[in-house]
Structure formats: C-alpha cells, structure tokens
Amino acid sequence: MSRALRFLPLALLGIILAAMVWRLANPGDSVVRSKLAGKAVPAFSLPAAIAGKPALGSALLATGQPRLLNFFASWCVPCIGEAPVLDQLKRRGVAIDGIAIRDRPEDVADFLARNGDPYQRVGSDTDSRVQLALGSSGVPESFVIDGRGIIRYQHVGPIEHDQIPLILAELDKAK
C-alpha cells in the first residue's frame, strides 16, 4: 500500500476533528445580523405554493405593519420543530408569510395540514431564487420586515421556544 494511502485515514480524521472542535469552540449562534438589514426586500413575485392560498410578492410585504417572513420546506426536519413556535407567534397576533423552498404543492399542503398553517400567504420558490436574493442560505429562516418593506432582522435556523420574546421584541422595534 502506498504511503499516501496509508496516511489518508489519518488526514481525513484530522479534518473532521478540526470541524468538530471548531463547532464546540463556537457554539451554534442562531442570531445572525444580516447584511441586508436596513435594506428593502428585493422585488419578487412568487406563485401560490398551494391551491386556495394567496400568492406572495414583495409589494405585499409592505402593509404598514411589521410582518414575519418565514422560509420553510416540507422536506426540512427542523421546520417541523419550528411549526408549533410559529403557531404561538400567530396566536399572539404576528402576521406571518411563508415561502416554500424547492417544494411541490402537494407536499406543502401535506406539511401544513400536518404541522399547522400559521401563514397568511405562501409563495413557492422552486429554484431558491428569492431565498438567495434575500441572503438566506437554508431553511428554516425568518425575516422581520417592517411596514415599509424594509428588512429589520434575520433569524437563521428554527425559532426556538425561548426565542419567542426575542422575535416579538424585534417585531416591536420594527413598528
């Protein structure tokens, strides 16, 4: 066996361990300051993700009141965990719009039926174009958008139960 091949496992292990050490040293921080904060939502117009629910466009986000824009997908496991939290936010009067990423209408309908539907409107972003335009790289991810359609806050990863006050405070600030 060649020398390079014999040392390959050790080298790979080194890389993997380095990534793990990095993660332990930098515990996951789900609060990320977006570069887009303070900028207007890029113009977009998405078709409705499921039948019977209105479509979503950037113009519809500037309603005079702050809103929460949530990126999700039916194939995303953490989104299932986030669903009850969104439900609670909705019950507290938060207006939430959703964008389904790389999804099929029947799967979205399934997902919403199973996990609850907190959204007023759901757009379908089949090729992640809007997601990328908003500087989001994964699901779930949420944006606080103020009444004039300006992004005020970006939340990467699922909103946890104990982060509800944080989101409510951001929404309050956006008023």
Binding site: M1, R6, A19, W22, R23, L24, V77, A113, H161
Partner: protein, 639 residues
C-alpha cells in the same frame, strides 16, 4: 451505602483498567509472563464494573431519592420495569451501561478467546484497557451516576409518561451493546497491528464480535425505526435525522466489516482493509455518541445536551481514533496481502460489496456533517434533508441489493464454471415484475419500481445457495447468510411497496362521515375527551371495515401542559397485507375534524426484513460457535 459501594467499585475498576493497560505494555514489550496478570485484571475489571452497574439498578429499584440521578429521573409511583429502565434512560446511567458493556466485553475476550495469537490478544486487551480507562474517567469526572443529593427530596421528578414505553426501555441498551461490542473488533485490530500478526486466526477471533455487535445494531435500528413510525405520527419510518444516522453509520461499517473479515478468515486477503474497517466501525460508534451527547447538530431527538461532556467525548474520540489510524499508517506497510484472486470471484464480489457499503457510509456521514463543514468553511448555515439522502444513497443501495443476490453464487478465488445460468430465474422474475408494474402502475416512480424488481430477484437468488443440497447438511452459517439476504429482500420490498402503493387521505370530517382509503371504508363515529397523568386528549373513534367485520381504532391528540406540547397518538391496525394508520388532527371550526388516514400495503415487511436480517446473524453466529452442527463438511464454502 449501595451508591457508595457502586462508586468505590467504579474507582477500583478504573484503576484496574490502568493496570490492564500497563501490564499489557510490559507483557507485549518484554515479559510475556505478565500475560496471565493482564487476563486476570481484565476479568476483574469487567466484574467490578458490572457490580457498579447492578448497584445503580438497585438504587433505582429502591427509588433511593438521596441519589441525585434517581431523584431526577425516577418516581416512587412508576411501575418497576420503568424504574429499572430509568437506570439507563439518562445520560449518566447510559454511560455506565456503555462502560459496563465495554469492560465485560474485555473480560469475555480475556476469559474465552483461544483462537488468536497470545501476543495479539494481550495487546488487544491492553487496547481494551485503554478504552475502558478513558470512559471510566469520563464517568467519574464528568458524569458520576452515584452523586448524592442532600437533602433528599420527598419525591422524584421523573414521571414523564412519554418515556414510559417498552420500546424506549430496551431500544437504547440494544444499540449500546451493538456500539460497544464493536470496541473488541477495534482492540483486536489494534492488537494485531501492534503485534504484527494480521492473519486468518485473528479474523476468526474477530468475526463473532463483529457479528454479535452487528446483530444488536440491526435489532436496535429496526426497533428504533418502528418506534418512530408509530410514536411520531408522521406515517414515515426513517427521517434521516442526525441521531438516526448516528446509529446507521456504525451499522454500515459493521456490515462491511462482517463481510471483509470473512474474506480474511477464508482466504487471508484484504488484511489492511479489514483492519481499517474494524477501526472505522468503532470510531463511528464514538462519533455517534459524540453527536448525540454534544448537541452539535440539530435533531428532532431531544437529549440532555452538555458541551462539556461533548468536549470530553471528543477528546477520547480524537485520542483513540487518532492513535489507531496513526498505528495503521505506520504498521500496514509491512503487511503482506494473502492469496490473490481474480476479477470474477467471491473475493472481488465482497470487495465490491465493501466499496458500495463504504460509499453509502460516506454519503450518510457527509450528509450528516455537511451543515457543520459548510458553516466552518464559509459561515453558511443550512440543513440537509431527505431528498439528498434518498436520491444519492437510494440508487447505490439498490445496486448493492442487486449484487447481494449474485455474490454468494461466486466461488472463492476464481469463478471457473459459468454462473449466469443460475441467475436466469431471478433475472426473469425481476423482468416480469418490471413489466407488470409498467403495465399496471405506469405512474410509479423509478426507485420503488426497481426496488420491487430487485427485491423479487434477491428473494429468489438469496435462497439459491441452499438449493440442490441436503438441508440438514447445509452449514448453519450458510443458512444464516441466506436468511439475512432474504431479509434484505423482504425489507426492500416493504420500503418499495410503502413508497409506491401507500394510499393517503387528509380530510375534514364530521362525526358520522364515512371516508374511503385504499380498500377500507372508515366511519368517524365520534370524538370524546380523555385524560392521563399530565395530559388531556381528544380521542376519536373510527370504525374501519373492508367488506366484513368492523374494527375500532382510537387515535388521540394529546396536549401536555409542561412543557406545552402536542403529540399525535396514531392508532394502527395491522393486517397481513398492510397497515391502516390513522391520526386525528385539529378541529377546523365548523364542527369537523382533520382526519388523516393511510393504507400502507406490506409496510410491516420493512421491520420483518430487519428481524430476518438479525436472525440470519444469529444463525451464522450459532453456526460458528457450534461447529459440530455440520459434521460432514470442514471446508467453509459460504462465509
């Protein structure tokens, strides 16, 4: 007193683990007469750890609330079985179970292994001592299960009915035995590389350990999958969640090891590869434990996560895997590969099996850790979902399943007789299934369609090694192989059938409405509130019928108050040809309720196949243990 005795035993066992390591170094380096001391210490260490574990069981059985762990995880009103299961249903207790299995494995190896070269065995026991020492230290310094609580509370806090489930009581220990059983294969590989004796005897000593651990992993994963299926109420049976992947990865590595160790045992080939696999398999077990305990990946499974403990496990993982891989790099240069083999032979069949398994392992590993790598490298945060795993690993797994049917028909070293003739029947059957599904179900997706075809071919091909022979004289190991491979076909058929033929209805129904799903007509008879110790629930009564007879199903939606959560308790009706899976959802406001119904034809085959695979392992293990069961044949024809 009981708790103190357990703690003392643990300290003593830790000291003995250190002695085991040091004595082994002395014995291997210069003075072989120390070997007996190593064996004795290994056995004693195992017994002391077992004693400590029994003491933990005792404090849980008595509900001694002055022990912090009991106060946090138990309650005097729990049924005894869940009191006992509570002993390992938490971090500290489960780590003690881990160490107990580790130490008892070492003791068993010391007491009963006669197959392997003495020097290799002693070196392996030294390695096992080093492993035990690290995990003892972890237990004593970072997760002491016997810590006292003063003053003792009047009652314990652990009466979570969600966790009082027979599945949860036995699923984790089964997986643990599998995880830790692989440590012996790891230690034997390390011992053999240190002693420079990688040979067929080593492989024969390693095989039962790999096989035994693999059986437990298979059972654990199968049971876990079924638990998720009936408990989570999503109708799915595998979610590619990091915690599920953490148990799948050691299984994939162990499956590969099981097959390559057979090549090494029979032909003396694949030496370096087998040693690497033995190391990777246990490394994957440690990675799995680390992922679960450190919480570095987002999972739907909630564990008590503690970065401190994560750091400790990561240090152990780095130390053991790093040293083992360095040893591999340093020692394998001198390994001489055994008998050569030709392109079409049993050996190359097993090499392909190993490569495919490792590719799947790589895909799962990469997919599981990709969010971590991506964030470390670019700062991006993302998650990898089932579409990746299904579409990337699925086709390869299917290819592997197809080859599983062919491999056992090849002969060692060189296939001289043409074997294509043997494949005629399975191929024909697969083609028939393909054509039939194209005609009858043209809309079926590609993966389930080929899944059904491959499952059919494999089911027939897996039994071919038994044909044309006197059944009673077929070695038990060959029976084991046939049964396990047949199990793969059964499980695959279940997966394909579930994904292709499942009928699903989601409707808002009023009491009295009748709904159709598949062959069933189901009446929503009524709804009633009901309550448990810390939950209230809405229970629906469904009356299902397909022709004659009426079955009653009672799915629930439960509302827990602390923490406020909502769970769906599915009601499942099992029939020979499938399962009716029912879930009751939320009220829609106009007097109707969301009702979700699935008819899943042959879905039970998934777990039945898993059980058959494990049974095959048991037969193979029994066949190796009782050689007398095949008196007329000495040569191992099918491994």
């Amino acid at each position: 007193m009981i708790a103190e005795a357990g703690l003392e035993a643990l300290w003593l066992a830790a000291a003995l683990a250190l002695a085991q390591l040091l004595f082994a170094v002395v014995a291997v380096r210069s003075q072989p007469e120390w070997s007996d001391a190593v064996r004795a210490v290994a056995v004693l260490q195992g017994l002391l750890t077992l004693f400590a574990f029994l003491m933990l069981i005792a404090v849980f059985a008595r509900t001694d609330l002055s022990v912090a762990l009991v106060a946090e995880n138990s309650h005097s009103a729990k049924p005894l079985i869940y009191k006992l299961a509570g002993a390992w249903g938490n971090h500290e207790g489960s780590m003690l179970l881990w160490v107990t299995v580790l130490a008892m494995s070492g003791a068993t190896l010391a007491a009963f292994s006669r197959r392997v070269v003495e020097r290799t065995l002693i070196a392996a026991l030294g390695a096992q001592g080093a492993l035990a020492l690290g995990f003892h230290a972890f237990l004593l310094f970072a997760s002491n299960p016997f810590a006292r609580l003063s003053p003792a509370p009047a009652e314990g806090r652990g009466l979570n009915p969600l966790l009082q489930d027979p599945g949860l009581a036995f699923h984790p220990p089964t997986l643990y035995v599998g995880y830790v059983g692989l440590s012996v294969a790891f230690s034997l590989a390390v011992g053999a590389l240190l002693a420079g004796d990688v040979d067929q005897r080593l492989a024969r000593a390693m095989r039962p350990w790999a096989l035994g651990a693999w059986i437990f992993l298979t059972l654990g994963i199968t049971a876990g999958s079924y638990w998720a299926y009936y408990e989570l109420g999503w109708g799915g049976w595998w979610f590619w969640d990091p915690v599920e992947n953490a148990s799948l990865m050691p299984w994939l590595a162990a499956t590969a090891l099981l097959h390559s160790v057979g090549v090494l045992a029979a032909r003396g080939a694949l030496k370096a590869w087998t040693m690497m696999l033995a190391m990777i398999a246990f490394a994957m077990s440690m990675v799995g434990t680390f992922l679960v305990r450190s919480g570095i990946l987002t999972s739907v499974h909630a564990f008590a996560v503690d970065p401190q403990r994560g750091t400790f496990i990561l240090i152990l993982l780095t130390l053991y895997t790093g040293l083992a891989f360095a040893l591999f790099a340093w020692r394998t240069a001198s390994l001489k590969e055994g008998a050569p083999f030709e392109l079409v032979s049993r050996e190359s069949g097993l090499v392909i099996n190993n490569l495919l398994l490792c590719v799947i392992l790589g895909i799962v590993f990469f997919g599981t850790l990709y969010p971590l790598f991506a964030e470390a490298a670019t700062g991006e945060k993302l998650s990898v979902g089932p579409p990746y795993f299904d579409s990337v690993a699925g086709p390869i797994a299917l290819l592997l399943a197809a080859l599983v049917g062919i491999g056992p028909l090849l002969s060692w070293r060189r296939q001289s007789a043409p074997f294509a003739r043997k494949l005629a029947v399975p191929s024909l059957a697969a083609a028939t299934v393909l054509v039939t599904t194209i005609i009858l179900a043209p809309d079926m997706r590609l993966l389930p369609r080929f899944g059904l075809a491959v499952a059919t071919a494999l089911a027939i091909a897996s039994l071919l090694p038994l044909t044309g022979r006197n059944f009673l004289r077929v070695p038990l190991a060959t029976w084991g192989m046939a049964v396990a491979h047949f199990g793969v076909a059964v499980s695959l058929a279940g997966m394909a059938s579930d994904s292709a033929f499942t009928r699903e209805r989601l409707v808002a129904a009023k009491p009295g409405d009748t709904l159709q799903v598949g062959p069933w007509s189901i009446q929503l008879h009524g709804l009633a509130p009901t309550a448990g110790p810390n939950w209230t629930a809405i229970e629906a009564e469904l009356r299902a019928s397909r022709g004659r007879g009426v079955e009653v199903l009672k799915p629930q939606t439960r509302y827990f108050t602390d923490p406020p959560t909502e769970t769906n308790e599915a009601a499942i009706l099992t029939r020979l040809n499938g399962q009716l899976y029912t879930v009751i959802g939320k009220p829609t406001g106009d007097g109707s309720w969301q009702v979700r119904l699935w008819w899943k034809p042959f879905v039970t085959f998934i777990w039945l196949g898993g059980a058959l695979i494990a049974l095959g392992g048991v037969l193979a293990l029994a066949g190796r243990a009782f050689k007398g069961w095949r008196p007329f044949r000495r040569q191992e024809r099918y491994a």
